[in-house]
Structures are given as C-alpha cells and as structure tokens.
C-alpha cells in the first residue's frame, strides 16, 4: 500500500470550471500533457478542450471549441475524443490540430442529449469508439484515421433507459451502465445484443441507483468494476453474473465499508497500489480500484480492506485519471475551478 506520507498534492486554480481531465500519452511530446474539458458559464460559447502541460498547467498550449459542455473525454494512443451534452462526438486524431478534428454532429442520426458513455477499443480494422447516451442510444464509431468516420447504431432504446457509462472489454464486447438499468454486457458476435445484465447492489425495492462509471482491467476482461449512486462500488464478474461483489456502499451488510456516501463519479483500476495479498493475484480477488466522489474523496478501495483515502477535499472531485505510463501520478478535476495533481512517491516504480 502506498504510504500516505509520501503523497504530494498541488492545486492549480483556473478561471473556469474544469469538468473532465485526462492524461495524454507522453509519446507525442517530451512534456507531460493533460487534456481538460472546461466551461465558463459567464461567457457564451465557452466550452473548450484545453491542452495543458505539467508542471504548470495554468495556461493552455492549445484549445478547441466544442458546441456544448463536454460530458465525456477519453484518449486512445493516437486520438483524443470528447462527447458533449448536446450529443455530438469530436475526434482529434493529431492532438489539438483543430483542422484535423472530426465531428459527428448530434441529431436523429446520432445522439440527442448528453453522451457520458465513451470508450475506445481496438478492433481488427482500427480503433472503434463506443458511445452510449442518456437518450438510450448506443453507437459504434469506427475509423478516424483517414478523416472519415463510420457511425453504426447498435441499439436505440428510445429513451426507455439512459446510459451513463460505456467500456470495451474486448474488440467484440463492451459494457454499459446507466440510470437504474444497472450494467449490461453487449456481445457483437451475438447480434449486437445484451447477453448479460446486472441490476447492481442497491438492494431491493425502492433503493436503486445510477451507474456513473465502469472500468474493465485489460488482464481480466470478464470483470467490470462499477461506481454509482450512494457511494456504491461493486465488481461484476461475468462468470457469476447474479452475484455482484460489493466493494463499497451504504447500507450493505457488513462486508464492504462505505468509502463515501455520495455519488461515485469515476472508478479506475489502480495499477500502482499493489494488492495487499500477493497470493490472491491469481485468484478471484478484485484488484485495487481508485474512485472519486461528489463529497471530495479520492481513495483506493479493495475487497475486504479498509479504503485508503488519498485526498479529502472540501469540494467535489468530478473526474480523475491515472497516468497510464506513470501510474503513481493522478490528476483530478475539482469542483472549485481547479486541477489537482497528486504524486504518490515510490521511487522504485518503473516508468
């Protein structure tokens, strides 16, 4: 476990709301780069994607205007993608070259309303992006390399369920989650259909919740870890689809301690924190998971362990990302118009 004394945290104030933040692959530049989706309510048309660099992310190196507030932001090794609250998708193949940006406009042919589920998967024919919106539609957007994209509708729920999260497991499978519909497992080989479904661990009857985020570990593609309402984090193993494993939650009996009581906005598997039980790495134990929440907590939760709080902020942490190349570093977007950079010190950590 990381020693909490070796944490260093810096806040970088910005003059506008920072909604989402992601690390960019550092191969494209010698600097360490961040992408942030920002929004200034005082100025019209001020929804932007900013390219920032560390150690001083106060002024953007480049910026791209978006038609509305960004609701999802992901990057693949070569493309940065953002989805917006109006339902459009923007792909930037060569980071922040505004001319090469490809947009899929919102509307009847794509999404209408916020798209929060967005993820990049690498199929045989190149990168494919899955989008899942609150309008209940699921699309797979392929291409982007040659400046053209192919949008294919996988499902149109006609608003019967709203999706808030999406994640690829393999080139053929992905998971979605959303408003009270729990988590769905889609298999493209079986006619683009939902092959498994999990209602979550919000208990029965009146207690239900919204799934905000899903992560799937590349080495264990049959396990989803899910974060949602009421401080709930659970793992869903496809091999036992009827028995989700609680990691944190309010009002659960005993097994999982709630790390927070409010909305869990994002979850990611944390490669930096070593599982406390080395033998278990081959067993069914769930790997450590990092989460951020509305009540300002950034923590690592692990099955049957006390959660390790990395940050307790007075304001919400809306988004965070672990640097894939340097997993000791975490960047987060704070509600009070700032970006936080957390460095967990352990020198032996390989690049």
């Amino acid at each position: 476990m990381a020693d909490s004394d070796s944490l260093s945290f810096r806040r970088h104030p910005h003059p506008y709301s920072v909604d989402l933040v992601r690390w960019l692959p550092s191969s494209i530049s010698s600097d360490r780069l961040l992408a942030a989706a920002v929004h200034d309510p005082a100025v019209p048309y001020s929804n932007h994607l900013h390219l920032l660099s560390l150690p001083d992310p106060s002024s953007p190196l480049a910026s791209l205007q978006l038609p509305s507030r960004a609701t999802a932001l992901r990057c693949s090794p070569s493309v940065l993608a953002a989805a917006t609250s109006s339902g459009s998708l923007h792909l930037l193949p060569s980071f922040f070259d505004a001319d090469s940006a490809i947009s899929v406009p919102s509307g009847a042919g794509f999404h209408v309303g916020p798209v929060r589920g967005l993820d990049c998967g690498g199929g045989a024919g190149g990168e494919e992006w899955v989008t899942a919106g609150e309008d209940g539609r699921v699309h797979v957007v392929a291409g982007g390399g040659d400046g053209r994209v192919a949008v294919r509708r996988v499902w149109d729920g006609k608003g019967m369920a709203g999706y808030e999260a999406a994640r690829w497991a393999s080139p053929a499978e992905f998971a979605t989650g959303g408003t009270a519909c729990g988590v769905q497992w889609w298999d493209r080989r079986k006619g683009d259909a939902v092959v498994a479904q999990c209602k979550g661990i919000w208990g029965h009857g009146t207690v239900t919740g919204i799934v905000h985020s899903i992560d799937i570990h590349p080495s264990r593609k049959h396990i989803c870890v899910v974060g949602g309402s009421s401080g709930t984090i659970f793992a869903w193993d496809l091999r036992w689809p009827q028995q989700p494993i609680p990691l944190s939650g309010v009002g659960l009996d005993g097994t999982a301690q709630p790390v927070c009581e409010s909305e869990v906005w994002e979850v990611l598997f944390d490669n930096y924190t070593q599982s406390s039980d080395i033998i278990s790495s081959t067993s069914t134990r769930i790997l450590p998971v990092m989460m951020c929440s509305e009540d300002g907590i950034l923590a690592v939760v692990e099955q049957d362990e006390r959660p390790l709080e990395l940050l307790v902020e007075p304001c919400a942490i809306n988004s965070f990302d672990i640097d894939p190349q340097n997993p000791s570093d975490v960047v987060c977007a704070l509600e009070w118009e700032s970006i936080g950079v957390l460095t967990r010190g352990r020198d032996s950590m390989a690049e």
Binding site: P114, E134, G157, T179, T208, I210, D295
Partner: protein, 735 residues
C-alpha cells in the same frame, strides 16, 4: 413582457432612446446587445434567467407563408441572447475590489474561505454546546477562542495573496531600492489591519511595531494621488540611474529621511552606501565625511526595537521585554546624541551631507519637526511616532488621540478605504468598520470580517447578534451573511458554497436554502445529483423529493421515459407513476404483439424485481413475466413452463391492479395453451375464477365507459369455450 416597436424610431430600435450629451450623469448606463436579428425587430421579450442572467429574445417580423424566403438566404428570424448583468463591474459582488482582483480570483478567494469559515462555525457551536452543558463557560476554553479566530484569520489572509513570501524590500542589485514583489491588494491590507487590531492578542505588547511592518507592506496603497514615502523612493529610484553624484541631489536626502522616518532601516543603510565618499578614488579626501556616513549607518542598523524578532533582511536590535528595551533605547539615544555633538561635523566639507546626516540624527532622536517634514501621509507620521517618540503607545484611545493629531498636521483629501477603516478601528466604532468594509470590499469581506470583529469585543458581539425588528427580526450578522449568500447564488459556479453560509443563518437561512435548491436547473442529471447531495447533507428530504419529481417530469416530457420513471421512483411518487402506467397501458393496449412488447423491455427492467415501488406499473412487470413464460411454453419446451405461465395468469387475474381492459387479451393469449395440453392446467377453483372474471367482463361491456380492445369478435367465445372444456376436464381429474 412583449414590447411593440414604436414607429418613427431608427431602424432596429424598439423603444426610442436619445442620449443627450448634456446630462451624461443622469443618463442610465447603456448596454449594447448583439442579437444578430435582421432589422426591424418586431418583438422583444425580456425575462430573468438564473442568477444575474437576463434573457432577451428578439424576434423579427413573421415570414409570410409560402413567401419563398427559404433557400435564398438564411436569416435568423429570432434569437435569444443572454446578458450577464454582473459583468459590468457594478455587480453585487463588486465594489472597489474588482479594480485589483478579477472575478475568477475573487471566486478563488470565496472557495478557499469556505472550509475556514465552516471550521470556525463548528468550533463556535461546539463551544456553545459545551457552555450550555456546564452552564459556566470554562475559562480556558474562552481564552482559547481568539486563537481559533487567529487561525481562521491566517488561513483567509493567506488566500488573499502572500507578500510575506518575498521580503518586502529586499536588496538584489545594490542600486535597487525597492524590490519588485507581488502587488499588494487593499483587500489583504484591510484584512491584516483587522487581524492586528482585533484578533492577535500576542501582538498586544508590540502592536506599534506590527503596525510599522504593516505600513511597510502596504504604504503604496494609502493614496492614489498624494505623495507617500513609497512614491518618494520610487521616484528617486527612477532618477538614480542618471545621477552622477547622489549626495548633491536633495531627493537623495529626502528619500533617506522618508525611509528612516517610517523605519525602513535596511533601505536607509543601503541608500547611505550610495554616498560618493564610499568610492575608492575619493576615500582619501573624504575620510571624515565617510566616517560620519558610516557612523550613521551603524546607528541606524542597531536601533532598538521592541519586538520578539525581525524577518530576515530587516535591521535593528530586538528587545523582548520592556526593561530591556528601555535600557537599550537610552544607550542608543546616548550614542546618537554623542555623534550629533561630535566635533567631526566641522571637518565635514560637504554641506549637503552634513545637513542630511544631521536631519537623520534628529529623526532618530524623535524631533517632531524633522519627522513631520520627512513623512508625507498622516499614517506615515503616525507610524513614525511609534518608532521614535512614543514606542509604548497602547490602547485604542491613546492611538486614536495620536491619529487625530497626525491628521491635523497632515490633512489628506484622498482617503482610501484603508484610512477610513483604520479610523473606524481606532475610534472603536465597529459600525464604521463594517460600513468601510462594505463600501470598499463588498459582501465577502463583511461576512468574513465579522468573525474578527467579534473575536474579543463584547460591544461588537452584541451589536452584530442583536435581533432587530426593523430588518425582519434578524441580526446584522445574519443580514450580512444572507446578502453574501445571495451574491454566491447569483453565479452558477459559486452557488454550491452558498449553503454553508445560509445554514449558519438561524432565522431565514434554511428557508432561502430551500428556495435556492429548488431553483437549480434540473436538465442535467449530474447537476441534479449535486443538488440532491446538498439536500442530503442538510437533511432536506422534502426538497429533494420535490426536485426528483420536477426532474422526473422534465425527462418524461423529453422522451427519456426511463430516466423520468427512475426519478419518480426515487421520489416515491405513486400518483405520477400511476398516471404513467395509464399512458403505457394505452400504448400496450394498442399493440400486444410480442415484437412491440420488446420495446418496453428496458423500461420494465428498470422497474426492478420488487414492484412495490412501481405503483400501477406493477402490472406491466407481471404482464412481461407472463408474456415471456407464455412464449417459452408455446415453444413447447417443458410442461413446467406451461404450468408457470398459468400461474402468472392466475396471479394477474387475481391482482386488483390489473386493468379490466387487459382481462380479455390475457385470456385470449392463453387460449392455445389451455387447448393444446392433454391434461388440464387449471383446477376447478382457478377455472371458476377465470370464468367469473369473464362474466364480469361481459357485464361491463354494457357500461358506456367500457373501452374495447382490438380483438377478433369471436375472442370472447373462444375463451369461454376453452375455459369450459378445461373446467370439464378439471372436474373429471378432481379426486
């Protein structure tokens, strides 16, 4: 409110408006709005949006039907423009602060002060609780209170900028008099002033020295038009580059005297070293002169100061206790006197050096005439009194008296907020202090400074906490907090911190908080969740239920049926769920085929396995189960599934929530199942139940409100036949 344009005005003008050059003062400020609608504008609608936003809708004349206006040119016929009223600098958060602190910076300060304020309030409440428990406030706890306030004050002070991080006047380049540093703000200066005089009790014994330090940091802010020591030195600095012989320039000696009079000893010593007699080529001729300059420099740098310590780079000899200080001061004054009377002055050939140095010595000896001449602003004279004439000044009364004397000697017309604030502090008049804070710095300052004022001042405490009938029975403290909370609410990024302040207002805070929460936009699920989180923190269950209902209706209206139902379920809104169920029945009633039913799968999934919460939608869930099971049975997999289907059917028919209009379709769907099996699936009692229902249905058919479902005419008969044959077989099977 729609406005119809008057004729005869300029094109595009809705209301004629003429700006007469004569009465520029009386004319209302004009804001230009770019609406992009081609003139003439036929209608204008104005409405308040959230916060300071005004929505202005401009509509052009209606395009005549079929007028062929399409295609030719896309001209906007109407547009809604949002106008931010707060942006003009005269917003409620505004006042003078905006000149030196921009809006984003002010928001940073507002965010940062929330945790400190909340911590102080919780400590206050804890102490009040403890006092209420034991009835007698514990002395030790009471004594600690000012330390809590000091901690709060330091936290907030650090948010306002940190000039201490760079020593105020550090010497880098030997020819630099004033070092560049973070620009001081009057907000920070005022905050420190309040902290010095109202909170920090550790300072009591060396308050005068602390004031001298304060002046060193903020001298540049005292006045915009009049001269100050800071300005004298800045001007001299500019001149210095072109000066060959500094000691011949009167500004050099004026600058030295000015700096010495307000105690900037490091600057004085540095400037003395500029003296020409230090230059190697002149050393021999001006040996005595140089000795005198150096002697003064040494005296300046060893001046006794009654304070525990000095920041690095500052000069003087610190004395911790009063007797030590008196002893050191006597000795030092003796040395100054001795130098003043020394015979070496006669040998000093340079007239200006002689006069200038003597002037410095007189300042050190506390000669009022020299001090008055050396200083520019009355506050500087005030500080010089502390340093050289009355180092033991204590108490507000003595200081106020001294301040009045200084103002008489150096009257000032350009009074910044700082002098007004200091006047209020020294005259022990919290009302004036608050008024100055409001005038110069706005609601943020007042709300947070009240804690400093009441830290150790019973009068201010009483004044701020007394409930006043003329302002609706609330106290001044609550009034100021409410005003500040309103300012926070008016911005969509800061509204989330307003609850902290509203919750500290006992009388009207909670009511306003409820209004604030209910007014938040519900379009975005994430924002709704953020609002609900605040409801949870303040245990406002009713408010959150209402927000969920409003959100549910919004999503339902916009076709996001699942999300709508989710919010209604969360709100336990049975009434609306039942209404929704009715709407859905209409839809399902029209198309009972299996394919179209699949459309509703997602929604039914949402309803959950436990249907208690779903209201009338409960039926849909059971109906789905029945349909699914029926399909399996008809595929002929097992006899078990057929049995289960029939069980679902019986459950549905028994359940009072099953609408009557579904009875016949349900039975009709099961006809094949009832007929095809060799052994009867229903026992006698079950069959009788179904037959009774069928009978009831036939009776209801006669009533006018009976809604017919598109089923073949023979449906009723075929069901009746199937049930009858089933009954016959069941009777035979019955033991």
């Amino acid at each position: 409110m729609p406005g119809v344009p008057t004729d005869g005005g300029a094109v595009g003008t809705v209301v004629p408006f003429s700006r007469e050059p004569g009465d520029a003062v009386a004319a209302p400020p004009v804001r230009t709005i770019r609406h992009g609608v081609a003139p003439p504008v036929s209608r204008v609608y104005v409405s308040f949006s959230s916060g300071n936003l005004l929505q202005v809708a401009c509509l052009g004349p209606p395009i005549p039907e079929g007028g062929g206006g399409r295609g030719a040119q896309e001209v906007a016929v109407g547009r809604v423009v949002e106008v931010n009223l707060g942006g003009g600098g005269s917003g409620p958060g505004g006042a003078d602060v905006e000149e030196e602190i921009d809006e984003a910076e002010m928001r940073r300060i507002q965010y940062g002060s929330v945790p400190a304020f909340a911590l102080l309030q919780s400590r206050k409440n804890a102490l009040a609780d403890a006092a209420a428990m034991s009835r007698v406030p514990s002395v030790s706890e009471h004594a600690e209170w000012w330390q809590y306030v000091l901690e709060y004050s330091k936290t907030i002070g650090s948010l306002l900028g940190n000039p201490d991080s760079l020593p105020a006047f550090m010497i880098d380049d030997p020819k630099t008099i004033l070092k560049d540093r973070e620009k001081p703000t009057s907000l920070k200066a005022s905050w420190e002033l309040l902290e010095i005089f109202f909170v920090d009790k550790q300072l009591k014994s060396w308050l005068p020295e602390r004031f001298v330090d304060w002046l060193a940091d903020y001298d540049s802010l005292l006045t915009k038009t009049e001269n100050t020591v800071y300005r004298t030195l800045t001007n001299f600095q500019k001149k210095l580059i072109n000066l060959q012989i500094v000691e011949d320039d009167p500004d050099y000696w004026n600058g030295l005297a000015a700096a010495l009079s307000v105690g900037w000893l490091d600057i004085v010593v540095n400037m003395l070293r500029f003296h020409g007699s230090y230059q190697l080529d002149q050393m021999d001729n001006r040996e005595t002169e140089n000795g005198l300059v150096e002697a003064v420099a040494v005296l300046v740098s060893t001046m006794p100061r009654m304070r525990p310590d000095l920041p690095t780079g500052k000069l003087g000899h610190c004395c911790k206790t009063r007797p030590d200080f008196i002893k050191a001061l006597e000795k030092w004054r003796g040395q100054v006197n001795k130098l003043e009377c020394s015979a070496f002055w006669i040998q000093c050939g340079h007239q200006k050096t002689r006069d200038g140095l003597k002037n410095l010595l007189h300042i050190m000896l506390g000669n009022i005439k020299n001090l008055t001449a050396a200083t520019s602003h009355w506050l500087e004279l005030f500080a010089s009194h502390f340093l050289y004439i009355r180092p033991f000044t204590v108490g507000f009364e003595g200081m106020n008296h001294l301040a009045q004397k200084c103002i008489q000697l150096k009257p000032s017309t350009d009074n910044s907020g700082l002098t007004g604030l200091l006047g209020g502090i020294l005259s022990e008049n919290p009302e004036v202090v608050l008024a100055e804070c409001t005038k110069s710095f706005g609601p943020w300052m007042v709300t947070h400074a009240m804690e400093l004022l009441t830290a150790d001042n019973d009068y201010a405490d009483m004044m701020l906490h007394e409930e006043r009938p003329n302002i609706g029975g609330i106290s001044l403290e609550e009034l100021h907090r409410l005003v500040y909370a309103q300012v926070l609410c008016s911005h969509s990024l800061t509204w989330q911190i307003a609850p902290t302040y509203l919750s500290s207002c006992l009388n009207q805070g909670l009511g306003l908080l409820e209004i604030l929460l209910l007014k938040q936009p519900i379009q975005d699920n994430r924002l709704v969740l953020k609002t609900l989180e605040i409801c949870r923190l303040y245990e406002l269950g009713n408010v959150s239920t209402n927000i969920m209902k409003i959100g549910g209706i919004y999503h339902w209206k916009h076709g996001r049926k699942g999300t709508g139902v989710y919010w209604f379920q969360q709100a336990h809104d049975k009434v609306r769920l039942d209404r929704i169920a009715l709407q859905l029945f209409e839809n399902i009633g029209k198309s009972v085929t299996d394919d179209s039913f699949k459309k509703w799968e997602g929604l039914l999934e949402l309803l959950g396995s436990d249907i208690g919460s779903a209201g009338g939608l409960e039926f849909l869930h059971r109906y789905r189960d029945f349909k699914r099971s029926l399909q399996q049975a008809q595929e002929g997999r097992t006899g078990e599934s057929a049995r289960q289907t029939v069980e679902f059917l019986i459950q549905l028919m028994r359940n009072p929530s099953t609408p009557q209009r579904f009875w016949l379709p349900l039975l009709h769907d099961s006809v094949r199942l009832l007929n095809c099996k060799p052994c009867p699936l229903l026992n006698v009692a079950e069959t009788t139940l179904l037959l009774n229902k069928l009978q009831e249905l036939s009776m209801a058919k006669l009533r006018p409100d009976f809604s017919n479902i598109n089923l073949p005419n023979h449906a009723l008969n075929s069901v009746r036949l199937a049930l009858a044959s089933n009954l016959a077989r069941a009777i035979l099977e019955d033991p």
